[in-house]
C-alpha cells in the first residue's frame, strides 16, 4: 500500500520533477516591481516563508519551482511556516521552543489568525508577528496557485508579463515547459536586456563574504603578526572586492547605493575604511586603519548575518527619492559623515580599552586621533543636513519640517557641536572628550536606525522591524556598560 502511494506521488509530480531539477536560476522573472533572476526571487520568497532557504534537502530554487507548479501537479511539500512571537505560537498550539508550523496546519488556522489579528486594537510586536504569519501563509498560497512566478511573453513584439498559471493551463503543457521557459528568456534577452544575469552573478558570488575574510585576515596580520605590509595588501583586496560588489549593485539598481538600510550599512562600512586609509596615508598611524577595518567588519557581519533586520533585496524606490542627483549628494554626505563618526567611535572605544587595561597614559594622543575623525564627520554631517534641506525645499517646498529623521540628524550635529565647543571649557577635558565620543555614536545610531526602528514615523520611512529595536537597545546597553567598565575608576571625573 505504501509503495503504491509512493509511486502515485512520484508519478503525479513527474513533469515538475523534470522542470525543477533543470537549471532555471538565470531566467528573467518579474516580482515586486522589478525584473530579477529566478534564483533571487526563489530565495527571497522561500526565505520569507521558512526563515531559511533550504527545506527537506531541497534548495530554494527547487522548492519554489515545485510549489509553483502545485496547481497542476501536487507538490506534496508541507513547507514549515516561520513563527516568532511566543503568543502566536500559543495561539497556533505550538510549544514555546517551536519555530515553525507546517503549512497545512497553518492553512486551517488562517481564519483564527485573522480574527486574532482583528481583535488586537493596538499595534504591538504580537500583532506584527500575526500579520507576518498571515502574509507568509498567503504568500505560499499565491505561489502554489502559480500566481507569483511571472514570465515574459511576447505579444505584438511587446513584453507582457504572465503568471505561470496563465501560460500553462493544463498538465500536458508541462512536457516541454523547460524549453518554453528557456525560449521566453532568450527572447527577452534579445529584445530587452540581460541585466538580471548580472544580478544573478552578484547574489551568487557572495563578494561581501570574501571581503570579510580578507579583512579578518588583515586584522590578524596587523595585530598579532605585526606584518603591516601584508595586512595592508589584504585590506586593499577587501576594499577592491567591496568596490566591485557596490559597482555591480549600482549597475543593477541604476541608482546610488544608499537607498535602504542594507545599502547605507554597506556604504558606511567601506566609507569608514577608506577615510581611515586616507588619514593613515598622511599621518602614518595604524590605529586609523585598524579602526576602519574593525568598523567595516561590523558592517559586513550585519549585512551577512542580520538579513532579517536589514534586507539585501533590491526593490523599487518611493517616488520622492527618485532623483539621482540629490539622492547621491545628500545621502552620500550623511552616510560618509556617519562613517567618519563611526571611526571616532571605534577609536574612542579602543582608547578607553587601552587606557583601562593596557596601561596606556597618552590621553592627549588619543584625544587627537578622535578629534581628527570627528572633524571629518561633523563637516560632512553639516553639509549633508544642508543638502537635505535644499533637496526638501526643491522637492516639496520646505527647507525644514521637524521630520524625525531631519531632527535626529540635527540632534547628532548638536551633540558633536556641544562636545567640540565644550572642549574649550573646563567641563570637557581630554578624558571626558574620549568618553563622550564613545557615547556620542549612540545619537548616530538613533538617527540612523532608531528613527526607523523605534520612532517609525515621518517621511523618511525605510520600514519598521521588531528585530531592529532589539538590536538597537542591545547596542545602547552594551555601549553604556562598556563605558562604565572602562572609564569609571580612571579619574575621569577629575579635572586635568
Amino acid at each position: 500500500m505504501k509503495l503504491i502511494l509512493l509511486l502515485l506521488t512520484l508519478s503525479t509530480s513527474l513533469y515538475a520533477n523534470n522542470i525543477c531539477t533543470s537549471n532555471l536560476e538565470a531566467l528573467a522573472v518579474q516580482t515586486g516591481g522589478r525584473t530579477k533572476p529566478y534564483y533571487v526571487m526563489a530565495n527571497e520568497n522561500i526565505k520569507f516563508i521558512v526563515g531559511k532557504s533550504k527545506y527537506n534537502k531541497m534548495d530554494a530554487r527547487e522548492l519554489f519551482c515545485r510549489l509553483s507548479f502545485d496547481y497542476l501537479e501536487p507538490s506534496n511539500i508541507d513547507l514549515p511556516i516561520k513563527v516568532e512571537h511566543i503568543d502566536t505560537k500559543k495561539l497556533l498550539g505550538l510549544d514555546a521552543g517551536a519555530t515553525s508550523i507546517p503549512a497545512s496546519a497553518a492553512m486551517d488556522k488562517l481564519p483564527q489568525l485573522r480574527s486574532e489579528y482583528q481583535k488586537q486594537k493596538f499595534s504591538s510586536s504580537y500583532k506584527k508577528d500575526l500579520e507576518k504569519v498571515i502574509m507568509r501563509i498567503q504568500n505560499l498560497d499565491q505561489i502554489k496557485l502559480g500566481a507569483v512566478w511571472k514570465v515574459p511573453k511576447f505579444r505584438d513584439s511587446q513584453i507582457v508579463w504572465h503568471a505561470l498559471k496563465d501560460i500553462f493551463t493544463v498538465k500536458d503543457q508541462l512536457s516541454n515547459a523547460t524549453e518554453e521557459l528557456t525560449q521566453m528568456d532568450k527572447k527577452y534577452i534579445e529584445t530587452e536586456n540581460d541585466d538580471h544575469l548580472l544580478e544573478l552573478r552578484y547574489f551568487k558570488s557572495h563578494l561581501f563574504g570574501y571581503s570579510l575574510a580578507f579583512l579578518l585576515t588583515a586584522i590578524f596580520l596587523l595585530v598579532i603578526f605585526k606584518k603591516t605590509l601584508y595586512g595592508l595588501i589584504s585590506i586593499g583586496i577587501a576594499v577592491a572586492i567591496q568596490l566591485v560588489a557596490i559597482t555591480m549593485r549600482v549597475l543593477i539598481s541604476g541608482r546610488a547605493p544608499i537607498t535602504n538600510m542594507y545599502e547605507t550599512v554597506m556604504f558606511s562600512g567601506l566609507g569608514a575604511l577608506i577615510i581611515g586609509l586616507i588619514i593613515y596615508a598622511v599621518r602614518k598611524d595604524k590605529k586609523f586603519v585598524l579602526a576602519g577595518s574593525a568598523y567595516n567588519i561590523l558592517c559586513l557581519m550585519m549585512m551577512i548575518f542580520a538579513n532579517n533586520m536589514i534586507s539585501a533585496a533590491i526593490t523599487p524606490l518611493v517616488p520622492v527619492l527618485r532623483d539621482n542627483f540629490w539622492l547621491s549628494t545628500h545621502v552620500t554626505c550623511i552616510i560618509l559623515s556617519y562613517a567618519g563618526l563611526a571611526l571616532s567611535w571605534i577609536l574612542a572605544n579602543m582608547a578607553l580599552f587601552d587606557l583601562r587595561f593596557r596601561g596606556a597614559t597618552e590621553i592627549k594622543y588619543y584625544q587627537d586621533l578622535i578629534y581628527t575623525a570627528i572633524k571629518a564627520g561633523v563637516v560632512l554631517l553639516a553639509a549633508g543636513i544642508i543638502l537635505g534641506g535644499v533637496w526638501a525645499d526643491y522637492s516639496w517646498g520646505r527647507y525644514w519640517g521637524w521630520d524625525p529623521k531631519e531632527t535626529w540628524s540635527l540632534i547628532v550635529l548638536l551633540f558633536y557641536m556641544g562636545v567640540l565647543h565644550g572642549k574649550n571649557t573646563p567641563w570637557i577635558n581630554n578624558k571626558r572628550f574620549i568618553v563622550l565620543s564613545a557615547a556620542g555614536f549612540m545619537t548616530v545610531m538613533m538617527a540612523w536606525f532608531g528613527v526607523n526602528y523605534i520612532l517609525a514615523s515621518g517621511l523618511h520611512s525605510y520600514g519598521f522591524s521588531e528585530g531592529g529595536a532589539i538590536f538597537l537597545f542591545s547596542f545602547f546597553a552594551i555601549q553604556i556598560a562598556y563605558i562604565f567598565i572602562t572609564a569609571f575608576d580612571t579619574k575621569m571625573f577629575k579635572k586635568s
Binding site: 522589478r34 480574527s115 481583535k119 499595534s123 581628527t372 553639516a382 527647507y399 531632527t407 517609525a456 514615523s457
Partner: protein, 541 residues
C-alpha cells in the same frame, strides 16, 4: 549708570561665552529629542504645538541666535586665525534671520485639484474659527492659537462668543433628561472575526441615530411597544400603531381589508372612534388626507414589514428584538435574558445586550485628549472642538461638525477650519498621470498636467507639467506635486503643496557660508594645531 553698563557687559560676556554656548546647544538638543518622541507617540501636529512651535522652543532658538551673534562680535576686530569661525557664525546668523523672515511672512499651504474644476483656494495650516451671518453673507474669522492643551478663549466673534478651544479632542457620551419615549440601547454585535459595539436612540435630540448599517445588515431601533406586533405573523405584514396610547396591532387582528388603487398600489382604511384614516403604505407611514396631503398630526402610523423581508434587517426594541427568518418564512421575536446573547441568522453573528435607558438621551460632548499616533497615523484625538456661547446658550462645534443657529431672523453658521488663501489666478487639472512599478500597485511617479489662467493678464492660459522634483513657479509662488487622491471610478485628483518663502535667499547664502566656513575652520585652517591637515602633518612622523 556705570553699574548698569557693567551688568550689561557681564550679561553680554556671559551670553557670548563658550560655557553658555555649550549649555544652549545641549539644552536645545534635549528639547529636540523630546520633540521627536512626542511626534512618534502623538503625531506631527501635537509635536508642533507642544514643542516645535512653542514659546520656549522659539525662545531657545533666539538665545542661540544671541549667543552666536555676541560670540562673534566679542571676537572683533578681525583676527586672521578666526576667519573660518567668522564665516561659520555669519552663516548661522543669516540662516536664523532667513528662518525668521520665513516664519513671519512665508506661506505654506496646499492646493487640492479636482479634475476639470479650476481652483484658486490654498489651504493654510492655521486653524480658524469662522462665524458667518447667512442673511448678510458677512463672515468673521478668528485665528486660533498654537497651544497643545485646551485654551480658554473668551473672545467675542461677531454675534457669538468663543469660550474654549480644544486643539485635539474626542467625544464622550453625556446623558440628558428627556421624555419617556426617549429610549436608548447599547449592544455588541460579534462573530469569530469581528466585533462592534453600537448605541442607538429613539430620541431626535440624541447624537445617536435610530437606524444603522453594518455591511449588508441594517439595524432599526424601534419603540418597545412594537415588539409584540413584530413577533406575530400576519399575511399582509402591515402593522398600525398609535403613538398616543402606545398600542399596536396587525391589520388582520382588526379585520381591515387591503384594497388596490387604480395604479395597483395597496390602500387601506382604518376606522378609529368613528374617524376614517386612509393609508397608502407603500407611499408613506402617515395617514393621507382627502386632498392627498400627509397628515402629520395624526397619532397613527402604518408599517409594512414586507419591505424588510428580502435583505438582512434587524429590529431592536430595547430589551427585545425581531427579524424575518427566510428559512420558514417567519418573523422571529426574541428577548434578552440575563447574561445570554442572542444568536442571529447571519454569518454566525451574535448580539450582546449592554445597556438600556428610558427617559434619557445621549449626546456626544467633545473633551480634550492628547492625540495618539500608531504606525504613522493619528488614531485618536484628531478632531478639534470649540465651545461657543450664543443667545445665552452654550454649544459645542467640532472640525467635523459645524453648527447653524437661528437667532431671531438671522441664521448664523459657525465652523472650525483652516485658513484659506485666494490666489488671484486659477489652476485647473487637465490630466493626472500615475506610473506604477511594473506588476504592482505601487506608484512609481505621479504627474499633473495643469492649466493656469491669470485673470489680471490678457492672453491665453498657460500649460504646465508638474511632477516630483519639478515644481511650477508663478508670481513668487511655488507649486509642488505633493500627493493625490482617488476621484470617481478611475480618475485621480492632485494635491500640490504651495509655498512662498521670502527668507529663501538668506537661508541659502547662510548655508553656503556655513559649509565653506566649517571646511575652512576644521580642514584647511593654518597656524593652529587643531586644524585637520595641520594635525595630520604635525604628528605625521
Amino acid at each position: 549708570m556705570e553699574k548698569l553698563l557693567r551688568t550689561i557687559g557681564d550679561v553680554e560676556r556671559y551670553l557670548g561665552s563658550m560655557k553658555f554656548a555649550v549649555l544652549i546647544i545641549f539644552g536645545f538638543m534635549v528639547m529636540n529629542i523630546y520633540g521627536t518622541f512626542m511626534e512618534s507617540y502623538h503625531g506631527t501636529e501635537y509635536a508642533n504645538r507642544l514643542v516645535y512651535k512653542s514659546w520656549w522652543f522659539m525662545g531657545t532658538q533666539f538665545l542661540m541666535f544671541l549667543s552666536i551673534t555676541i560670540a562673534t562680535t566679542l571676537r572683533l576686530p578681525f583676527k586672521k586665525t578666526l576667519y573660518g569661525f567668522y564665516v561659520i557664525h555669519l552663516g548661522l546668523i543669516m540662516t536664523f534671520i532667513g528662518s525668521y523672515v520665513t516664519y513671519m511672512s512665508g506661506i505654506d499651504g496646499s492646493l487640492e485639484l479636482v479634475p476639470g474644476t479650476p481652483s484658486n483656494t490654498v489651504v493654510i495650516n492655521q486653524d480658524q474659527f469662522k462665524v458667518k451671518n447667512m442673511s448678510t453673507g458677512k463672515a468673521i474669522y478668528l485665528n486660533l492659537p498654537m497651544n497643545a492643551g485646551p485654551v480658554d478663549m473668551n473672545r467675542k466673534v461677531g454675534a457669538v462668543k468663543l469660550l474654549k478651544f480644544l486643539p485635539s479632542s474626542t467625544t464622550q457620551d453625556q446623558w440628558r433628561v428627556g421624555v419617556p419615549s426617549d429610549t436608548t440601547g447599547k449592544y455588541l454585535l460579534y462573530n469569530d472575526n469581528v466585533s462592534q459595539e453600537f448605541m442607538m436612540s429613539m430620541s431626535p435630540k440624541s447624537d445617536y441615530k435610530s437606524s444603522l448599517k453594518m455591511g449588508l445588515l441594517t439595524i432599526h431601533y424601534m419603540p418597545e411597544i412594537l415588539f409584540n406586533c413584530f413577533k406575530t405573523q400576519s399575511k399582509s405584514g402591515y402593522l398600525i400603531w398609535n403613538l398616543n396610547t402606545s398600542e399596536c396591532f396587525s391589520i388582520e387582528s382588526k379585520n381591515i381589508p387591503v384594497d388596490k388603487t387604480d395604479a395597483g398600489n395597496p390602500a387601506l382604511t382604518f376606522t378609529h372612534e368613528g374617524k376614517d384614516h386612509h393609508f397608502f403604505p407603500d407611499f408613506s407611514p402617515l395617514p393621507i388626507n382627502k386632498d392627498f396631503t400627509k397628515n402629520a398630526n395624526s397619532p397613527f402610523r402604518i408599517f409594512s414589514r414586507k419591505l424588510f423581508e428580502d435583505k438582512p434587517n434587524l429590529f431592536i426594541f430595547g430589551k427585545t428584538l425581531a427579524y424575518f427568518k427566510k428559512r420558514g418564512k417567519k418573523w422571529i421575536g426574541k428577548e434578552f435574558e440575563m447574561g445570554k446573547d442572542i444568536k442571529l441568522p447571519w454569518m454566525n453573528f451574535k448580539l450582546k445586550f449592554v445597556d438600556f435607558r428610558k427617559g434619557q438621551y445621549p449626546v456626544k460632548v467633545p473633551t480634550y485628549v492628547i492625540p495618539t499616533q500608531e504606525n504613522g497615523k493619528v488614531v485618536e484625538g484628531e478632531a478639534k472642538a470649540a465651545l461657543v456661547s450664543a443667545g445665552g446658550q452654550e454649544f459645542w462645534i467640532t472640525s467635523e461638525k459645524p453648527l447653524t443657529l437661528q437667532k431671531g431672523n438671522e441664521k448664523i453658521s459657525m465652523a472650525l477650519g483652516k485658513k484659506l488663501l485666494k490666489l488671484p489666478y486659477q489652476i485647473s487639472l487637465n490630466r493626472f498621470k500615475m506610473d506604477k512599478d511594473p506588476g504592482t500597485n505601487n506608484p512609481a511617479s505621479y504627474e499633473s498636467f495643469v492649466q493656469l489662467l491669470d485673470g489680471r493678464k490678457e492672453g491665453k492660459a498657460s500649460e504646465h507639467h508638474v511632477y516630483m522634483n519639478n515644481p511650477l513657479q508663478y508670481d513668487g509662488m511655488t507649486f509642488y506635486q505633493a500627493s493625490y487622491f482617488p476621484f470617481g471610478q478611475e480618475d485621480f485628483g492632485s494635491i500640490f503643496s504651495v509655498n512662498f518663502d521670502p527668507g529663501r535667499p538668506l537661508k541659502y547664502l547662510g548655508a553656503i557660508l556655513l559649509v565653506l566656513g566649517s571646511i575652512w575652520h576644521y580642514v584647511i585652517r593654518r597656524k593652529n594645531k587643531g586644524s585637520f591637515f595641520q594635525s595630520l602633518k604635525s604628528s605625521g612622523t
